[in-house]
């Protein structure tokens, strides 16, 4: 073990604190990060004075960080701003209820049925589907707000705190990209064709848009990573590159998440409009004729 190992252990500890303090009010977040930074420095100096090796210092740093993870998470959950926690609860509630009301409760009809039978099936569940979609859009709005805050937080980050943010953002992006592809390729197909929606829109346009969006973004990511790696390898000018890296990744994540949401939500909006129209048509047919 060497001084480099000690530096890596310290960096890991600082990355962890950067991660679990994301989204906290600036005063609390900055205080915790600065306290850990000071603690790590004091520990390094004390161990050095006592003649301990760099390897032992690194091990103790990692041990203190790892053993503190449960307490960090408990502290994080209890410390978040009340407004943020309420929004989190709203997100969980509206997303769960929305998905249930819009998709699970209505169930899946026999897609080989005739168009009128499909229309009848969905029209009978028009209210549930409408309320479900309103809740899904609400949760999408809350999610968009969270992503915006995350991006703003990553842009104001200081040097040395960026790499783990970048990893988190890349992971989030990968998840968003997967969603984007899944919904683009399969999500809209079942609400098309004979049911009344234009299949050229639902089966071709949105999947194509999703794929194009994803391909362009992946290309941009590859170019960006290559460029930043080249800058850091050449050295000298790489002192702030982690902050820059995660800042730009924040924007890419925002783009990707927005794209995934649009690819999912726009076909659903079309579907909802169709259900509402069919509901009126079907209920109109059921009304007794007044002579």
């Amino acid at each position: 073990m060497s001084i480099a190992t000690e530096g890596l252990a310290q960096r890991a500890a600082r990355w962890w604190v950067s991660l679990y303090t994301i989204g906290l009010p600036a005063s609390i977040r900055d205080r915790r990060r600065a306290e850990i930074r000071s603690d790590l420095w004091e520990q390094q100096r004390a161990f050095s004075r006592e003649g301990h090796s760099s390897g032992l210092t690194a091990l103790v740093t990692l041990d203190r960080t790892a053993r503190g993870v449960p307490a960090d998470l408990v502290w994080r959950v209890g410390t978040g701003d009340t407004a943020g926690q309420s929004l989190g609860l709203w997100f969980a509630f509206s997303a769960t209820m929305g998905l249930w009301l819009a998709f699970l409760r209505p169930g899946v009809p026999d897609l080989n049925s005739s168009a009128p039978a499909l229309a009848e099936f969905y029209a009978g569940k028009g209210l549930s589907i409408t309320v479900g979609h309103v809740l899904i859009w609400t949760s999408a709005g809350i999610f968009a707000r969270f992503v915006l805050r995350l991006c703003r937080s990553s842009l104001t980050m200081q040097h040395g705190q960026g790499a783990l943010h970048a990893i988190v953002l890349v992971s989030g992006m990968a998840a968003a990209a997967t969603l984007c592809l899944v919904f683009a390729l399969t999500g809209v197909a079942s609400f098309s064709g004979e049911a009344g929606l234009d299949p050229s829109v639902t089966q071709h346009l949105f999947p194509l848009a999703g794929l194009t969006f994803h391909t362009v973004l992946s290309g941009a990511m590859a170019v960006f990573l290559a460029a930043t790696t080249a800058v850091s390898v050449q050295g000298g000018t790489g002192s702030n590159w982690t902050a820059w890296f995660s800042g730009v990744l924040g924007f890419l994540f925002l783009l990707e998440a927005t794209g995934a949401l649009l690819v999912f939500l726009l076909p659903q909006a079309l579907f909802l409009a169709w259900v509402v129209v069919k509901s009126f048509e079907v209920s109109g047919r059921r009304l007794p004729h007044v002579s």
Binding site: A13, V17, R31, R32, A34, E35, I36, R37, S38, D39, W41, E42, Q43, R45, A46, V60, D63, R64, T65, A66, R67, G68, V69, P70, A71, D72, L73, V74, W75, T79
Partner: protein, 104 residues
């Protein structure tokens, strides 16, 4: 809290997080230093409860010594009182509170 009071008796009126971790380790003869999460969560909560107070040291002091700024903690009067009240229970954990007599 005990550590804070011990440090105070020894003339150390303000202490940073790592110093507290080190004192706890030496006091209890522990093999490991208190974990970051455990230590700072406890300090944060005790400060919120008014048992400790804290402030950032002067940046010039830290700059002079080429190190990050320290967050310095002090035990408050309420903290000392709470500790004094807790002592009998620490010395004899089997002590039980007697129920108060009802007012006639």
């Amino acid at each position: 809290m005990e550590v804070a009071l011990d440090l105070r008796r020894r003339g150390v009126f303000e202490y940073h997080g790592f110093l507290i971790a080190k004192e706890i380790q030496e006091r209890e003869g522990a093999r490991l230093l208190t974990a970051h999460g455990t230590l700072y969560k406890a300090l944060y909560r005790m400060e919120k409860a008014g048992l400790l107070s804290s402030y950032w040291e002067d940046p010039l002091t830290a700059a002079d010594e080429s190190r990050p700024r320290r967050r310095l903690y002090q035990i408050t009067a309420a903290g000392q009182k709470a500790l004094a009240e807790a002592r009998p229970f620490q010395a004899n954990p089997t002590v039980r509170l007697e129920p108060r007599e009802a007012n006639p």
